[in-house]
Symmetry: D3
Subunit: 270 residues, 6 copies
Amino acid sequence: MPEYQTLLVEQHDKVAHVLINRPEKVNAMNAAFWDEIVQVFGWVDQTDSVRVVVISGAGKHFSAGIDLAMLAQAAAGMTTDIGRNAERIRRNILRLQASFNAIDQCRKPVIAAVHGYCLGGAIDLISACDMRYSTPDAQFSIKEIDMGMAADVGTLQRLPHLIGDGMMRELAYTGRMVDGHEAARIGLVNRTWDSHAELLEGVLALAAEIASKSPLAIRGTKEMIRYSRDHSVEDGLNYIASWNAAMLQSEDLKLAMTAHMSKKSADFAD
Amino acid sequence: MPEYQTLLVEQHDKVAHVLINRPEKVNAMNAAFWDEIVQVFGWVDQTDSVRVVVISGAGKHFSAGIDLAMLAQAAAGMTTDIGRNAERIRRNILRLQASFNAIDQCRKPVIAAVHGYCLGGAIDLISACDMRYSTPDAQFSIKEIDMGMAADVGTLQRLPHLIGDGMMRELAYTGRMVDGHEAARIGLVNRTWDSHAELLEGVLALAAEIASKSPLAIRGTKEMIRYSRDHSVEDGLNYIASWNAAMLQSEDLKLAMTAHMSKKSADFAD
Amino acid sequence: MPEYQTLLVEQHDKVAHVLINRPEKVNAMNAAFWDEIVQVFGWVDQTDSVRVVVISGAGKHFSAGIDLAMLAQAAAGMTTDIGRNAERIRRNILRLQASFNAIDQCRKPVIAAVHGYCLGGAIDLISACDMRYSTPDAQFSIKEIDMGMAADVGTLQRLPHLIGDGMMRELAYTGRMVDGHEAARIGLVNRTWDSHAELLEGVLALAAEIASKSPLAIRGTKEMIRYSRDHSVEDGLNYIASWNAAMLQSEDLKLAMTAHMSKKSADFAD
Amino acid sequence: MPEYQTLLVEQHDKVAHVLINRPEKVNAMNAAFWDEIVQVFGWVDQTDSVRVVVISGAGKHFSAGIDLAMLAQAAAGMTTDIGRNAERIRRNILRLQASFNAIDQCRKPVIAAVHGYCLGGAIDLISACDMRYSTPDAQFSIKEIDMGMAADVGTLQRLPHLIGDGMMRELAYTGRMVDGHEAARIGLVNRTWDSHAELLEGVLALAAEIASKSPLAIRGTKEMIRYSRDHSVEDGLNYIASWNAAMLQSEDLKLAMTAHMSKKSADFAD
Amino acid sequence: MPEYQTLLVEQHDKVAHVLINRPEKVNAMNAAFWDEIVQVFGWVDQTDSVRVVVISGAGKHFSAGIDLAMLAQAAAGMTTDIGRNAERIRRNILRLQASFNAIDQCRKPVIAAVHGYCLGGAIDLISACDMRYSTPDAQFSIKEIDMGMAADVGTLQRLPHLIGDGMMRELAYTGRMVDGHEAARIGLVNRTWDSHAELLEGVLALAAEIASKSPLAIRGTKEMIRYSRDHSVEDGLNYIASWNAAMLQSEDLKLAMTAHMSKKSADFAD
Amino acid sequence: MPEYQTLLVEQHDKVAHVLINRPEKVNAMNAAFWDEIVQVFGWVDQTDSVRVVVISGAGKHFSAGIDLAMLAQAAAGMTTDIGRNAERIRRNILRLQASFNAIDQCRKPVIAAVHGYCLGGAIDLISACDMRYSTPDAQFSIKEIDMGMAADVGTLQRLPHLIGDGMMRELAYTGRMVDGHEAARIGLVNRTWDSHAELLEGVLALAAEIASKSPLAIRGTKEMIRYSRDHSVEDGLNYIASWNAAMLQSEDLKLAMTAHMSKKSADFAD
């Protein structure tokens, strides 16, 4: 199991559980965090025995978002040439975006389990996950607006696909707190569980169920839904036809069919 | 009225009611079905007296999805050249997709009325319809995942526009059953009626109401909503401007205006 | 404060309140209205002291949509050359669209507060706003279908992003009335307030709150959400990175940071 | 070999040669022609022994474009309702477009060999082919402009990809005649041969060479070039990766490798 | 005839000839010029008797590009808030772009006739025209690179459609001079005439020929080519079908047909 | 200077010269090559003193394309599960594509200097470069077709932007050899030099000239041309406006202006 400064990784059978692990800093995202997110999802992508990832926060909260010390440091490195500053800032933002793109592009489903604060950069993070679940007392806020800036690590691009354009703008312009109940009503999370313990139990059970399906079928499904988000229906239909032209010759299909006929569960290769 | 092996077609005034008619096989979609869907919607497109289509299932269920015998037959036809197999599978998938594209592209609104099982390929079918209504005890499931495959006849492309990206992934990864109440809450159906009889009565009344509107206006509206799904707002605005440049010179506009002024209902030409 | 025939403009601190002001005609949109909408949003865009706009209806209703007298006049101007008529109609539609594009493209948030009737062209108008709120007894209807035409001033392009594809088609095909409660449930409005007075008070307070945020951050956020509506996630991420490369060098960021640290509110330059 | 009223089909080994065969009418495209083009390319698509198609004109010319009698007949069928006329015209245009889409979408390469007149609709036709070759005295003209209309069967969409935007507009606005030499210089044809006989011999030899390659590889290549015309580089790269995932497991690859090593020519299955 | 500070407008029958008229400043583009370009093309769009525009330079050159005094003035207006500067610069660039967008979007063809220098902003200008012609000794250069900046008024977006991606980059990275002969070879101009007088005579004759065609057909053709530049072939085909649904009912078609039959020239209404 | 197994890197002032260095194997691309290409362009991107890259072949040829031993090895690793094979092949292709994407996405211009053979994968490589130059006796061929496969490392996506759709298909379907003269005529290379020595001298001089320009301006120009290849003109204009909002505040602009006024050359910071 890989070890990190800011993340704790556990493996439960086929499910990896990644905890953001700076509870004394409300799991604020520092420079090490952004690098380690890329590393851990690289490890996930290459480790065949991991089929689903759950991400949650250690301690009382999910995460308070980007570590302000990191912003202060970036500010300190500015020069007097505005153009060169701009190029440097742009590359920094692209690097932060790359961390959460690693979640979005991970070939395996990633599920966020949120309790307590989920602020600013943490909204960017969960927007890049496949699904989101929370406790009723979770607190969500697009806090960037109160930093005097537009969110730039994915919230404004991915969240409208979850909650619709109208509510999106209210939350992004005001930064107001949304609790778990409202989050479930507007589609920000799929459902809530009553306590942190029940949330983790529920989400890990869901993850285990997904891990029991054909891994090739899950990957194809994720790739198609991601592709459809950015392409026309016609392009999407064409793409799945080419993809399945090979995948339907896989052993998994035969295994699944046989299991289906015999009412047993199939045991798919990694 | 055309006759089919797997479909039963009734016409109520301006509304065609298409029933999937293999109740003894839970309305499973066999080879004849995929061909006849293309034929019946070709007939709908060319028959001026039909203005709206309702599609439902004969017997106790809407449909259990693709007929497994059809998959078995396809599997039996495989050769030892993987490349040629792939091309053949790809063409088969494109052909199945074409059947439901015929619903999506039909110039007239198509409304699904769902009771009982609506599984696998049946979700692909209703995703291609204009609207969906059900009984509370309807049972929806993206069952392809349990066949060891990614759905490839349109669900993954069209359904996210109905239920949002977050719930989409949960249902596609797990294949879990959704009943009519939840379907209404997440946007999969627009509303429920309490029994199968009330559902059919309600949907046929809705269809009759749509059939009383100007057919040119309905077709233009459907074309624009379909186009907007896959294009930018700006492209969409440009397209409707060109379209209406001719349509606003139609007689229907004058008829509708006159009817509106005199508080009577207009009687539009087919 | 600019003065208009069909609009009344008030300014409350940093918030402009635009009232559609033809109550004796149920605020129907006549030729002057379409011109003045462009003018008032041009004034908003250039007036630094205005940061947020609220739009509502004077009298008992929001608006009954386009003035039928205007359509009659357009009809009277038709010649016998259908091609030239078509070009003229097309340009007229593009001109009407430009009026509501001025709302959509306005650099500052525009919030609709709806009570009473909101019909036909009024739906096109509120679809182009950033957010929508209403009383429970507001009455929404895509009435164009009963005029024998497809809506052509933005409803069919923008509304699906708010209420999903399935409900969109039902409302566009039938033109049925939706009240405020249902509007809130399907995402057409973000919430309701119980009376017209409470609605205005609530929306103006919300507008004032948004006006207290960094105006550069609000503009960037609006631009990004609009851009994301029509582009892929990847394009959107790239765009915000280039945008923020300059914006993160702004004074607003420092002001906001300082305010955040000292728990005071920042006072941003216009 | 199928037989047609307006087309003559010959097969030379793996190459089908389709001649437009109304020489007494300068090969003008009548109603039968537009249907038979769909039929012949349907036959080509399904006939494994045909791997490449050459299309040329019988008699002294390639084709003078659409038969004016057909336009006159369409004009005669007009009613007094402009909206219904518009819908009918639109469907007629879509049907004509479908005829040349059958060429564009044909899975096998289609090569045009042009001598004499190639006017109006004939430019639409050759724009939908894979490659074009001519005699020096061929005469090309986008003649639609002299009919008082914008070309609507594909020229304006496909030709800019061949000759660039600047020359495209000159030819479309003026309808001026371009001979074979200029056509070769601007990219409208790939090269010229000096006489009609040499042209046919040269093009049939080229077609035979393409027919000797792996048919799966040729189809994949055509599909990718067509796709790249309408998509981003990134989408194109993703698509070919999925496509080749199956195709690189084909026998053709092994055959080609073996042939390459032994300096012999491979004999691919149809 | 409208009068301007920096432009001279002549009308020859149906052709407007716009001369950039600051010969003592090598026709450098000052603030007045950018405004007047919008005005003159607004006038062209609304003046039915103008059907084609020719644009050339008064004196010895076409234009040396943007007036450096204008840049100096912009530089002088900078504040110390980089974010607000950025927003101001962005709006200024969008305003300059709007000037040449007015050429690109003008409903009537615009032809550039180039002699002498055509540098920097002048390349942006001619890239937005429909066609370009020059003398052999014309001198073209993407001079922005030597100002330490990327061209931002349209060259980098529109020129690749004319000269291909490979030559585009060489010229944009080096700013090297291209003469008329090379310009014709790479597609930057359609052809050359030997002297300034012959160039103007040739281009005006070409413009007059285009002006004799059906103005509706010319506008439709320009709209379709512009649309196809930014859309897929399929979208383009759909668009022209809707467009022509109305346009083919125009009188121009009948006039053109009759003229064609009788071998006379048609006289189209403006 | 970094050292590699398959590449040789020299630095001439601000220009890096990368030589493919397996002359005894005709510079065939083996596994080490594909990795090292990523490394060398990573080094280029991060090394401020390198502003332009030239890539050429050591010995008598540019490159014969992918090493057949690498394909044989890949073939040997196949399992009996076609679905899992497909996923593995797909990932391998994506990895090969990533190597040449590193060239395409490199922030600094990359120029190919080609002599001798340039076959198969080598065409994919030079298609990803900014510009291409060659000797007259260079030999270009899209050789993949003779391997029984469609090219899958970028040729089919990028080359049509250089040589047009018509010639593209001829070369891709036939794999025929094109020499340097023809390559220059069709736009595959920008020009030729007569000998290998003159080619290198000419290309290095060109590279040095580009290296003397503002590096920020060159990067912005490359980014905009790449972006425009895959986006609409309108999107491209919007993007450059946001980009230059920061870049026009750079020191380089002032330096370039001063140099321009004084007719001296500017000395830009890295």
